[in-house]
């Protein structure tokens, strides 16, 4: 009988050498450990032929063999599993340098991106956003803004007329008048919008975008204008950026200033962008003309205001180094996909 045990053992030891898969192991294992037909199970059927006094030891030997076999097959299963895992991984090998799947989002227009950036800054300072009309009448676009009919300042802005009284807004300032007529101070508004002037070349487009701001409250001064704009340029162009005011003229402000920002490219040392001056002109501003306040029914002896206007195309072009304003209106995907600062 002991020979039989030895044979089975040997058969298992030899048999498992050539096994390559969990399935083969399972099939082979079944030959020995299947409850009914397994060779080790069948040994138990020999019990009846065994002398009663040897039956206990025979039973133990069968059990030992069974345990031994189970342990062998368990080991083998582990080996097979790791082998198979390895094989599966190997089969799934990829070239990680192949291109990734495209997950394409579009972009907001560069002007919208710039506009949002500026709105964020001024919203934080308490400015409401008010939109302008693209078609205005003469009173709101000019007269209320202290630019009467014979005023040469009308020539500063070549106007598109739609009828004797109606025109395409040349500035977003009309929105300020509408607001001041409807609302009493304190007023802090930001008016982004499309404006139109009869001008068409590499730096001028007949339609462009302005963003004007207006504050009306008690004791608003030129120093407040400077403080607010310093804050603004630092948020947009980075810490350490500063502004320079210099005299200018707009009919709706007095005094009026042109505002330059220290060059964000060279930090003021002088470079190609700032044409060696260290400064870049970005906006016009001033203290709201008393006549404009009075035109809107706000007492200029009680209140004062500041106003500023930014050309969005100009700041956008400066920020991204876009050299022709036309590129902003041609909708070339190759251009639009480059500016993704959404």
């Amino acid at each position: 009988m002991n020979e039989k045990f030895g044979e089975i053992k040997q058969e298992i030891v030899d048999g498992i050498k050539g096994l390559q898969s969990s399935k083969a192991v399972y099939e082979f294992k079944k030959q020995f450990l299947d409850n009914k037909a397994g060779k080790i199970g069948l040994l138990m059927k020999e019990m009846k032929n065994i002398a009663p006094e040897e039956r206990a030891s025979f039973g133990k030997s069968v059990n030992d063999l069974k345990e031994w076999a189970q342990a062998r097959f368990a080991e083998l299963d582990e080996t097979m599993k790791s082998l198979e895992l390895e094989r599966r991984y190997a089969e799934e090998k990829i070239d990680v340098t192949e291109p990734g799947a495209e997950e394409k989002s579009g972009n907001l227009h560069p002007i919208t991106q710039m506009r949002n950036e500026i709105i964020d800054v001024f919203s934080g300072m308490g400015f409401e956003v008010v939109e302008n009309k693209e078609i205005e009448n003469d009173y709101y676009n000019f007269t209320a803004l202290n630019t009467p009919k014979d005023h040469p300042a009308r020539d500063m802005q070549d106007t598109f007329y739609l009828s004797p009284e109606y025109l395409l807004a040349t500035q977003t300032s009309a929105a300020q008048i509408h607001t001041m007529e409807a609302k009493k101070p304190p007023i802090k508004i930001l008016c982004p919008g499309k404006v139109f002037r009869s001008d068409d070349d590499a730096t001028h487009s007949p339609m462009f975008h302005q963003m004007e701001g207006l504050v009306v409250d008690k004791k608003i001064t030129l120093c407040d204008l400077k403080g607010m704009l310093d804050e603004f340029v630092q948020k947009i162009y980075g810490e350490g950026t500063t502004t320079r005011l210099r005299p200018s003229y707009f009919p709706f402000t007095e005094p009026s200033v042109e505002v330059d920002v220290s060059c964000f490219e060279c930090g003021g040392k002088g470079c190609k962008l700032c044409k060696g001056t260290g400064w870049i002109e970005i906006l016009g501003a001033g203290i709201v003309n008393r006549k404009v306040l009075a035109n809107c029914g706000i007492d200029p002896d009680q209140y004062s205001g500041l106003a500023f206007g930014i050309g969005l195309e100009r700041v956008t072009m400066l920020k991204y180094g876009i050299n022709n304003i036309k590129l902003l209106f041609e909708s070339d995907i190759k251009v639009l996909e480059q500016i993704d600062n959404n």
Partner: protein, 806 residues
């Protein structure tokens, strides 16, 4: 405005370098657009003395020994016919820069650097120069116009730089003058500012002249249109001798690019440049009726101006007439009939103020802008009108070219040219600035600016010169003070006294931004197109003659026809954008724009039109279809928390069977569809394109939807797939509605497959739907869903004759 430094120095001592002056002007509000030395292109040219001069045989050339003082003595070959031993000429040393000229020796062809050379075997180290080669004209230096060497004065120091001798060391400033300061549109006007900013006294030019006893008897000036001409001054000058102006005057005119004509004409031009007041001179011989009348032109009246152009005038144009006929187009140009000739013996000088908008309108209407009209358009002042006449008469005497009569007529409306008193509170001035400018500084600044100030406590009294028409109230004083005191004194503060306000975007603005961002996630790029478009765009869209889109607002003065109508649809701009992209090789893409349509209540406009925010999407490329665009439409609905229905429709520019109108809450809000082939062909599109347009103004008017939480179903749902067979005419939408109608628990109904062909009969098609059944408060019972399906199938059979596919 061009300002020669040498001319400016007549009125103010300038003790700073040109670059420093530029900075000073900039700081007080006068941007110098360009500042350059007159001879900036000329260098290393010195006074050369020709010691020996021998002809080179068989040529027109001479070989010269030129003494250039401390620079050495050089052999120079020279082709000019006026070179001779003992003469002094400009010599460009080796390494010098001068203008290169063409074969005619007159036309400048850039700048060249002088090198050592050899001519006909003779070494030549340097070049003797002509006026043209140094950029000097006859008006700037006598003899410089000769087509040969420029002859230098005998007393010129050998070896010295020629620039100071020829005036090439002068500087020209191109200054931009803001619209509020027309009084600075002249050398004297700018000199006032320079004097103030440099803290130097102003030296006025001389206005003195001596009237003789002679009178032009009976001469009258009538201003029939005083609204357009508040002041007209005429002065009769006789015994005129027409001739050349003196060098100093010709030189100044030349420096600002004006050609000298004759002494009388040059005086009018000179005074305009110096004082800023346009002037005119009439030849008295051709003034009929011994009278001047300033009046509006008669309709159809004609005038021929000095440049021999004939114009037909209207009532809106102002003319200067003699007793019989128009002799000048007021403020623009004189008439040919009374122009100054070589034979002129007596002239009438005119100095007048005309209404700036009238001159502007005339200049525009006739397409005729002159230096005079430009000055008038910006605005002139009566102080200068008076002073210019005096100055011109002074120059008549200084140049000795005529005699000043005592016929002086000043027709005016009584406006004073004396300074007027203005009192302002210093504290109000400081309140605007936000800083306290010391009273002494205010006094000093206002004094420098010719305001003759006095301070008494808080009260500042100034006397505003009549030429400062921009001065109105204390903010103007604040500006005068701070631009001279310096903007660097303005310290940043942040509205310490202002009330707190809440800021940010309103609901509509936030919705719009969200919509834009949501559209970007579908891979679409935002575009911005012009608010105007072309009549041709309406034709591109094949719109019917009476289509509402053709009722567009027209721009009266468009840049061109292509930009002449306000948009009534955004579709054409989008189609053109797609076409541009395809022409550049971008054959697929997604674009969208949120812009406005302009709907006029009536034309021409008498009221604000309706400005309607509109969304337009354009997609194109192999992978796009009606349904990819519809997916984007659904994205829009989702973003705005609304629901769209789609109903087959037709549009003139879209595919007849791939177009739907979009309906929201029973109202038509837009359309989507495939671009019709003829339209695509017209635009040379290489891939299919699809368009969508939605009126956002209607959607924004709906109550703002918002994201909200619904508790998750407590009980599991079930899904069933149904493959259905139906007539080809039945639509997906009909089936979906029919399914939902039959069972309230059928939450999501989604088409996932469609099929036509055997074994389905040829008149039929198959569509397969997934239906998600979601339980309510109670769980589904074992048979519930089967029961729902039966109900649904029954409804489909009854309403649409639809069978389950076997």
């Amino acid at each position: 405005m061009l300002v020669p430094l040498s001319w400016l120095k007549d009125y103010v001592d300038i003790n700073v370098a040109p670059k420093e002056l530029e900075k000073k002007l900039f700081s007080c509000g006068f941007e110098v657009e360009e500042a350059y030395e007159v001879g900036k292109d000329i260098s290393n040219v010195v006074v050369g003395y020709v010691e020996e001069c021998e002809p080179i045989p068989e040529t027109h050339l001479h070989v010269c020994k030129v003494n250039a003082g401390s620079h050495g003595t050089f052999q120079v070959c020279c082709g000019a016919d006026n070179v001779q031993a003992g003469g002094k000429y400009p010599v460009a040393l080796v390494g010098a820069t001068v203008f290169a000229t063409a074969k005619d020796h007159k036309t400048v062809e850039g700048v060249m650097t002088i090198k050592k050379g050899k001519l006909r075997g003779y070494e030549s180290e340097g070049m003797l120069c002509s006026g043209v080669e140094l950029g000097v004209s006859e008006d700037m230096f006598p003899g410089a116009g000769y087509n040969g060497l420029l002859v230098l004065p005998e007393d010129a120091e050998i070896g010295a730089d020629v620039k100071p001798i020829l005036g090439l060391d002068d500087w020209i400033f191109d200054v931009s003058i803001t619209a509020n300061r027309p009084d600075c549109q002249s050398i004297l006007g700018l000199a006032r500012e320079v004097a103030a900013v440099l803290d130097q006294p102003l030296k006025e030019p001389s206005y003195e002249y001596h009237e003789t006893e002679v009178k032009k008897d009976g001469f009258t000036v009538t201003v029939s249109a005083p609204d357009l001409c508040p002041r007209y001054i005429g002065h009769y000058v006789y015994d005129v001798t027409i001739g050349e102006s003196p060098l100093w005057m010709k030189r100044r005119l030349a420096l600002v690019g004006q050609t000298a004509i004759s002494n009388i004409v040059d005086i009018t031009n000179y005074v305009m440049l110096e004082i800023g007041q346009p002037m005119h001179a009439f030849d008295c011989e051709y003034i009929e009726g011994n009278a001047i009348n300033v009046r509006r032109a008669a309709e159809g009246e004609k005038i021929t101006t000095l440049d021999e152009q004939e114009y037909t005038l209207t009532y809106n144009n102002l003319v200067i007439c003699d007793g019989v006929k128009p002799v000048a187009l007021a403020g623009v140009m004189g008439g040919l009939n009374s122009e100054i000739r070589d034979t002129t013996k007596a002239v009438l000088f005119e100095s007048a103020k005309f209404a700036r908008d009238n001159i502007r309108k005339t200049a525009r209407a006739l397409g005729k802008r002159t230096d005079a009209s430009a000055k008038y358009e910006k605005g002139t002042d009566e102080y200068s009108t008076v002073h210019a006449m005096a100055r011109a008469l002074h120059l008549i005497e200084e140049l000795g070219c005529g005699k000043v009569s005592s016929t002086h007529v000043d027709a005016n409306t009584g406006n004073s040219i004396e300074p007027w008193e203005m009192k302002v509170s210093l504290s109000k001035v400081n309140d605007i600035l936000g800083i306290e400018v010391p009273a002494q500084d205010v006094l000093h600044i206002m004094k420098n600016l010719q305001f003759a100030p006095k301070i008494d406590g808080d009260e500042l009294t100034i006397y505003v010169p009549a030429y400062r028409e921009d001065m109105d109230s204390y903010p103007d004083v604040a500006e005068e003070v701070i631009r001279m005191y310096g903007y660097e004194h303005v310290k940043p503060t942040f509205m310490p006294d202002a009330l707190v306000t809440t800021g940010g975007m309103n609901a509509k603005q936030r919705r719009e931004l969200k919509l834009k961002k949501d559209l970007c996630t579908t891979g679409a790029y935002e575009c911005i197109h012009y608010s105007f478009f072309s009549p041709a765009d309406l034709d591109l869209l094949k719109l019917a003659k009476d289509a509402p889109e053709r009722h567009a607002i027209r721009i009266l003065n468009p840049i061109n026809e292509e930009l002449s109508l306000m948009r009534t649809t955004l579709a054409a701009s989008m189609l053109n954008a797609i076409s541009r992209n395809q022409k550049k090789g971008n054959l697929s893409g997604r674009l969208y724009e949120i812009g406005k349509k302009f709907i006029a209540k009536d034309l021409p406009l008498t009221d604000y039109p309706d400005e309607r925010e509109t969304l337009c999407i354009g997609i194109f490329g192999e992978k796009e279809s009606f349904f990819t665009l519809k997916g984007m439409a659904e994205k829009v609905a989702e973003s705005l928390y609304v629901k769209f229905d789609y109903i087959p429709d037709k549009k003139s520019f879209l595919h007849p069977y791939q177009t739907a109108k979009i309906v929201c809450g029973g109202e038509e809000v837009g359309y989507l569809g495939k671009v019709a082939y003829p339209v695509a062909d017209k635009l040379d599109l290489r891939t299919d394109a699809y368009l969508l347009e939605i009126d956002l103004k209607t959607l924004y008017a709906l109550p703002a939807g918002k994201a909200s939480f619904k508790p998750l179903p407590k009980f599991p749902g079930e899904s069933r797939d149904l493959a259905l067979v139906m007539d080809k005419a039945v639509t997906c939408g009909q089936v979906e509605d029919c399914i939902r109608e039959a069972c309230a628990y059928a939450k999501n109904v989604k088409l996932f497959d469609k099929y036509e062909g055997a074994p389905i009969p040829p008149t039929k098609k198959s569509m397969a739907f997934t239906i998600d059944f979601v339980p309510g408060a109670e769980p589904f019972e074992a048979e519930s869903v089967d029961h729902f399906v039966k109900k649904i199938l029954k409804n489909l059979k009854n309403k649409l004759d639809i069978d389950l596919r076997s």
